[in-house]
């Protein structure tokens, strides 16, 4: 497997700049999730890497090989990419074994390789003789991954592979697919619009917005230190509070909060995540009214208006001790907060 590198890659369609000067490096043997709302250009980015679309500018390298750039582009069939599209797209006229063997040279189609990759995606060998219409959605996705992995591709590309599955299947299939990618030591790009999926499955998350990669970092860094308010809101619940920063302390409606990192003095906005907002803890003095409670059992999402008249923040409360709507509670903020000047 190989390192994937994009430098200044651009592509437009008629009047839309779908991908604009994107730089992205996916290290060898790792999974990068490209996260963004629909229409942000993430699928085009994937199709550029696969070779279905040719970039207008920039270079794409698989290891040391330039697959697109300098005015030439390798056709997809010469790139050795494993491509797993949204609905799996298994060949309906072939059984599972033949689907998986599709990309293997003729001499290897009857080899043990089919069994190996079936095992890799955690499907029993007996599935080889089934047809795509006899499989559930999750099984189809696993076979699609097995088919992509069988020829030992340089790069594996997954285009929203779990979005057509229902919620319970999505999480388990996602984890199984990731285990298979790790065992195969694959260099993989996973396109998704689901932030939970991106954060929980990938080694690196690249957030895309209007054709650009606005931040590429580890899931923790993306969540804890987003580059701007937009990224902060996109990857999780976020309340943005106006604040005055002085000497590493932000004065907000929720009290005096320590600031993460080195920030100059002045007016700013601070990011408060729901899990930072604590209800009724310790020596809290700020009072808030409970406006709305969404109860999930294991926890609850509590919407609060800081008294007397705002701002509105959301707190994540444990499932054991959930306040009633209309009650007045005390709130405080745990840990340092991120500040956007």
């Amino acid at each position: 497997m190989t390192r994937l590198e994009l430098r200044g890659v651009s592509k437009s369609f008629t009047d839309v700049r779908a991908v604009a000067a994107v730089d992205l490096t996916v290290p060898h043997d790792s999974v990068t999730a490209v996260l963004g709302p629909s229409g942000c250009g993430k699928t085009t980015l994937l199709r550029l890497i696969a070779g279905f679309v040719v970039p207008e500018a920039g270079t794409i390298r698989f290891g040391d090989v330039v697959v697109a750039g300098d005015g030439r582009a390798l056709p997809p069939q010469q790139r050795k990419v494993g491509y797993v599209p949204q609905e799996g797209a298994l060949f309906p006229h072939l059984d599972v074994a033949a689907n998986i063997a599709f990309g293997l040279p003729r001499s290897q189609r009857r080899s043990a390789r089919v069994g190996e990759v079936l095992d890799l995606v955690e499907l029993p060998a007996a599935f080889g003789s089934r047809y795509p219409h006899q499989l559930s959605g999750g099984q189809q996705q696993r076979v699609a991954l097995a088919r992509a992995l069988a020829p030992e591709p340089s790069v594996v590309l997954l285009d929203e592979p779990f979005s057509s599955l229902d919620a319970s299947l999505r999480a388990s299939t996602g984890r199984a697919v990731l285990r298979a990618l790790r065992v195969a030591h694959a260099t993989a790009v996973l396109v998704t619009h689901d932030q939970d999926e991106a954060l929980s499955l990938a080694d690196q998350v690249a957030v895309m917005r209007e054709g650009k990669v606005v931040q590429a970092a580890t899931p923790r860094e993306i969540y804890r230190s987003p580059v701007d308010a937009g990224v902060a809101r996109f990857v999780g619940g976020a309340a943005m509070l106006p604040a005055a920063v002085r000497a590493g302390v932000a004065s907000t409606a929720l009290g005096e909060l320590p600031v993460a990192g080195d920030v100059g003095d002045g007016a700013a906005e601070v990011l408060v995540r729901p899990e930072q907002v604590l209800i009724g803890a310790g020596a809290a003095t700020v009072k808030a009214r409970v406006d709305e409670v969404a109860y999930y059992g294991h926890d609850a999402s509590v919407t609060l208006t800081v008294l007397p008249d705002g701002p509105v923040v959301v707190a994540r409360a444990g499932g054991l001790d959930v306040p009633e709507v209309g009650a007045t509670v005390t709130v405080s903020v745990a840990g340092p907060v991120v500040v956007f000047p």
């Binding site: 696969a50 279905f52 069939q77 599209p85 797209a89 060949f91 088919r147």
Partner: protein, 496 residues
């Protein structure tokens, strides 16, 4: 290729323009033409009404009620598709001497054509989402009101499509109406053609006939409008609730039995009867085999040619949807609306004037078949191509497989069954085609249809029976195919 399909239409338009409006009017405004127009229109109106009543009624009984043995009834109700209309009229005319004129035509044509309404209605009834009816009940509508306001509107496109097919088939029908002595434009054109070869009277009648066809196409377009009826939700629909007929169960089953007896039983009895009579006199195995061989050979050649011509049109329509590809596809549909007799007449005239060497050859005959049956092939090939989306090509490329190998390993295997179905439909239609074959086949060429026609026209009913039986046997696979996939029966079912 689209241009080829438009040759007959162009011929009619150019001919009318050349002859000049004055002379054209003199040829058209005659009492004889008025009589033909009256006959044709009343028969079209009468037959579409009876076919609709019979088709919708039977479909509802079979699909939505608790009549016993509904699967068996379905098979029997589709069976008339295997009997060419001119064979059906032969079996009636030879058994019931008094049956001719308007009543005879109405009875025989209805019994031959009602499956064209029955099949699409069955397909829609099967696909109806019961949740819609349940929603209507929950909003306080009674069962009858729900049927009128929820079910019937959803049947509308299918019924209209079926009526369109009945009308166009009827305008093109030659053999059945000739045998029942009910003159319409098509039979009159043939008679004119026989008496004054390539005369202007026949050509002007053809122009009026084409005008009628186009009016019917337009009327259907207007009536159907832009509305689409689709099930909104995805996932498997629950089976519909079966309506209990109670006391009406017995009588209504008898009605089904009567329809089947008249539409299937009588022709079958007639065939067996005349086979017995015929075989007691003579049974010409050699001639029978020769005619069958010619029919099958022509069918196979026409099927191959038509499917090859259909591929580019269907490919363009599916992979590059746009104005041009739509036009190419539609032009083949216009050709499908033209009666075989007009196609034949046009090809006779055009070949004599422009390409004399192919006149009276198989080339011209195959050309006529290709123009007439291209739409059937386009529909099948198009439906098949839709099963092979571009995404599968991309996946194959990503797995290192080149373009040609992808066509061989992915596209062709997926579309092969659909192409096979299309080819089979054309093959079977050509094997029993009468009108164009009579007019265009090289002299001394006998097919099952033309030989049958010659025998039954000279009232040699016994001698005609073996040919009729062979044609029915050849048509059975097509009827089975259409019974399973109702949508194949009509090119107009394809998205516009």
């Amino acid at each position: 290729m689209g241009a080829l399909a438009l040759v007959p239409l162009g011929f009619v338009v150019v001919y009318t323009a050349l002859i000049g409006p004055g002379d054209a009017w003199d040829l058209v405004a005659r009492p004889r033409v008025g009589e033909l127009l009256g006959n044709t229109v009343t028969l079209v109106v009468g037959c579409t009404a009876t076919c609709t009543a019979l088709g919708v009624g039977c479909a509802w009984l079979v699909e939505r009620t608790d009549v016993p043995l509904s699967r068996v009834w379905h098979g029997l109700l589709v069976a008339p598709l295997a009997v060419p209309a001119f064979v059906n009229s032969y079996s009636w005319a030879s058994l019931v001497p008094g049956i001719h004129g308007f009543t005879g035509a109405l009875v025989v044509i209805t019994l031959s054509y009602y499956p064209l309404v029955y099949l699409p209605v069955v397909a829609v009834l099967r696909g109806l989402d019961p949740a819609l009816e349940e929603a209507a009940y929950s909003l306080g509508h009674s069962r009858a009101r729900t049927f009128a306001r929820v079910v019937l509107p959803q049947l509308r496109p299918a019924v209209l499509g079926g009526c369109l097919l009945v009308s166009l088939h009827l305008l093109a029908e030659f053999g059945a109406l000739q045998m029942l002595q009910f003159p319409t434009f098509t039979t009159a054109i043939y008679d004119q053609y026989g008496s004054t070869f390539n005369g202007e009277a026949a050509n002007m009648l053809a122009s009026v006939l084409v005008l009628l066809c186009m009016l019917i196409l337009l009327a259907e377009l207007r009536l159907r409008g832009r509305r689409r009826y689709a099930r909104v939700a995805r996932g498997a629909a629950r089976p519909v609730e079966i309506i209990r007929l109670g006391g009406g169960r017995g009588p209504l089953t008898l009605v089904l039995a009567a329809v089947v007896a008249l539409a299937v039983g009588l022709p079958a009895y007639s065939l067996v009867h005349w086979l017995r009579v015929g075989s007691s006199t003579e049974f010409p195995v050699g001639e029978l085999a020769a005619a069958a061989g010619t029919s099958l050979g022509l069918g196979a050649a026409a099927a191959a040619a038509t499917v090859v011509l259909a591929m580019p049109a269907a490919w363009l329509a599916v992979r590059y949807p746009g104005l041009t590809s739509n036009l190419v596809e539609r032009s083949t549909y216009v050709a499908n609306a033209l009666p075989g007799i007009v196609v034949a007449l046009a090809l006779v005239t055009v070949s004599i004037r422009a390409v004399q060497p192919i006149y009276q050859t198989y080339v011209l005959l195959l050309l006529a078949y290709a123009i007439m049956f291209l739409p059937r092939a386009v529909v099948s090939v198009r439906a098949a191509l839709e099963q092979a989306p571009v995404l599968l090509d991309e996946v194959a490329h990503s797995l290192g497989v080149g373009s040609l190998a992808t066509v061989r390993r992915v596209t062709l295997p997926i579309i092969a069954p659909g192409i096979g179905a299309g080819a089979a439909l054309v093959f079977l239609a050509v094997s029993t085609e009468l009108t164009a074959t009579l007019m265009l086949a090289p002299i001394d060429t006998t097919t099952l249809a033309t030989r049958f026609w010659a025998e039954s026209s000279s009232v040699a009913y016994g001698a005609a029976a073996p040919y009729a039986l062979l044609m029915v046997l050849i048509s059975i696979p097509a009827a089975v195919l259409l019974g399973r996939h109702a949508s194949l029966s009509s090119p107009w079912e394809a998205p516009r």
